[in-house]
């Protein structure tokens, strides 16, 4: 016997219930769907029969057969929830709970009627929810967009936090790259001074320093992107295992790589230019220390 503490039931509405589930054999019964995490944790599989009861101590219950095992969508807002989900037919759920008219929440999908103009915003979700709220008693309707905004508030804060970290990292990297370039260029003062004495133009010196700094920046960004991709793969592998979800926790997209490489290249060019300018503004004789 395996006991499950909680599950979610979702049909047209969703109700949170607590009940034990017992594993038995049986055929020709009503079906239910359980999620993958429950199947894994309890060892249940397709075709298994389970007994459903509203209380763990209830002497009897209803039998149902597992007709489907579902995988949760990659929803960040649910990732930390540890409960299991079971989907029942509505009538079975109602008889099981004994409260046939109790619904926690339900969704209404609105669509334009045939021939209606797309500009007819008067019949959009906002107006529908406003109309429902005008006559509602004991409940409230929200447009889906509003619900989405509400539930993603945490992620917006996290997103801003990440952006701030990103900006700080970029500024610090820029300063670091400039310092490194200046130091590396300064190490070659004598060689560059000698080259200037030999007749290499300022433009050649500036070009070569900028080219070198750009190549270093490009190489750095490539290494950084590779490191980021590897780190993301490790993070995803670990947390997808912990939370049993296909959700990706860290992403290195082509857009991110493109931004990183472009930004790095720009920083390389600018730092190379500044370092080179510092060098070519100094007299060649001074550069060689005479």
């Amino acid at each position: 016997m395996r006991t499950l503490l909680r599950w979610w039931c979702t049909l047209t509405g969703a109700v949170i219930l607590t009940a034990p589930v017992l594993r038995v054999q049986g055929q020709g019964m009503r079906t239910l769907a359980i999620d993958e995490r429950l199947a894994t944790a309890s060892g249940l599989s397709l075709g298994d029969s389970v007994r459903l009861a509203p209380m763990a101590s209830a002497p009897s219950g209803q039998w149902a057969r597992i007709g489907a095992i579902t995988r949760r969508s990659a929803d960040p807002s649910e990732i930390a929830r540890s409960e299991y989900r079971v989907r029942l037919h509505l009538d079975q759920l109602q008889s099981l709970t004994g409260v046939g008219d109790r619904i926690g929440r339900f969704a209404v999908r609105t669509q334009l009627s045939a021939g209606a103009s797309p500009d007819a915003t008067a019949v959009g979700p906002d107006s529908v929810s406003a109309a429902i709220n005008a006559m509602a008693f004991g409940f409230r309707a929200y447009p889906a967009a509003e619900v989405a905004i509400e539930t993603s508030a945490t992620f917006r804060v996290v997103n801003r936090f990440h952006r701030a970290i990103g900006i700080i990292t970029i500024v610090a990297s820029a300063i670091f790259l400039l310092c490194i370039t200046l130091l590396k260029v300064d190490e070659r003062r004598r060689e560059v001074g000698a080259l200037r004495l030999l007749g290499l133009s300022r433009a050649t010196v500036v070009r070569s320093v900028m080219l070198e700094a750009s190549l270093i920046a490009l190489l750095g960004s490539a290494l950084g992107a590779g490191f980021g991709a590897a780190a993301s793969a490790i993070v995803n592998w670990y947390y997808q295992g912990v939370y049993a979800t296909p959700l990706k926790f860290a992403l290195v997209t082509p857009e991110i790589v493109a931004i990183a490489v472009t930004l790095s290249l720009l920083l390389g060019i600018v730092s190379g230019y500044l370092a080179a300018q510092r060098l070519v503004r100094t007299a060649p004789l001074e550069l060689v220390g005479r």
């Binding site: 060689e191 080259l195 200037r196 007749g199 133009s201 050649t204 060649p284 005479r290």
Partner: protein
């Protein structure tokens, strides 16, 4: 008396610096002609103006007054860009320190001035190999500077100085960083270069190098106090 027009002609050349707000003349009214094929050694005590003179002759520095013509061109009238170009194509430099690019091979170091002068790659590769063979490093063209001895590095520097077939080779203490034996090899190389037609002006404290030159100029307090021709010019045996 040499009747060929001089490669280098200086007339009443002066160079003054401000030291603690007061002008100090490092070169004071110097007049000098250097003819093609000459090897001139400029000697004198430290602070006598040798290096300042070399900087002026090499279009690195500008005279305060006077006239300096190199191959008929007025160096004092050149702006920075022209002087840089002139140094690239008209003058070869050998420094006491070799100043080779550590990341480049010997051949690439020699090719550098030719690349700057826009010489085609095939031509400059051939020229670099020819010059390195001339200075005795034909088998070490792909070596990096750190893989070469001091004498070998200085040979690469000489080859680099000759890359664009300059009218004048200026050398500032070319044996200064070398031991006695390698210094002698370098003097022999300069002698061979000169016999093959290269016009050389060296600034040196090295007595042996000065003795090997055809003409020795002694400087003191910014002026020439002695100018001796030790060996007359011969017909060049080759060309570099």
């Amino acid at each position: 008396m040499n009747m060929t027009p001089p490669v280098l002609s200086a007339r009443d050349l002066r160079r003054a610096y401000l030291v603690a707000g007061a002008p100090v003349e490092a070169v004071r009214g110097l007049t000098l002609d250097v003819h093609p094929g000459e090897w001139v050694a400029v000697v004198g005590p430290s602070g006598c103006g040798k290096s300042t003179l070399l900087n002026l002759l090499g279009a690195i520095d500008r005279p305060t007054s006077g006239q300096l013509l190199i191959r008929g061109r007025d160096v004092a009238a050149m702006d920075d860009k022209e002087a840089t170009r002139f140094r690239l194509t008209g003058i070869g430099f050998v420094f006491q320190r070799f100043y080779l690019m550590p990341t480049l091979s010997a051949a690439e170091n020699v090719e550098l001035p030719m690349a700057e002068a826009k010489m085609p790659r095939v031509e400059r590769e051939a020229r670099a190999k020819e010059l390195l063979t001339y200075v005795g490093l034909g088998a070490r063209t792909d070596h990096r500077p750190f893989q070469l001895s001091g004498g070998e590095q200085q040979r690469v520097a000489v080859a680099r100085a000759l890359a664009n077939r300059p009218a004048l080779l200026l050398a500032d203490e070319p044996t200064g960083e070398l031991d006695a034996r390698t210094g002698e090899e370098m003097i022999a190389l300069f002698d061979r270069l000169n016999r093959d037609g290269t016009t050389i002006v060296t600034v040196t404290h090295d007595e042996e190098l000065a003795q090997a030159a055809r003409r020795v100029i002694h400087m003191r307090d910014g002026v020439i106090v002695d100018d001796q021709v030790r060996r007359p010019l011969e017909s060049p045996t080759g060309a570099t």
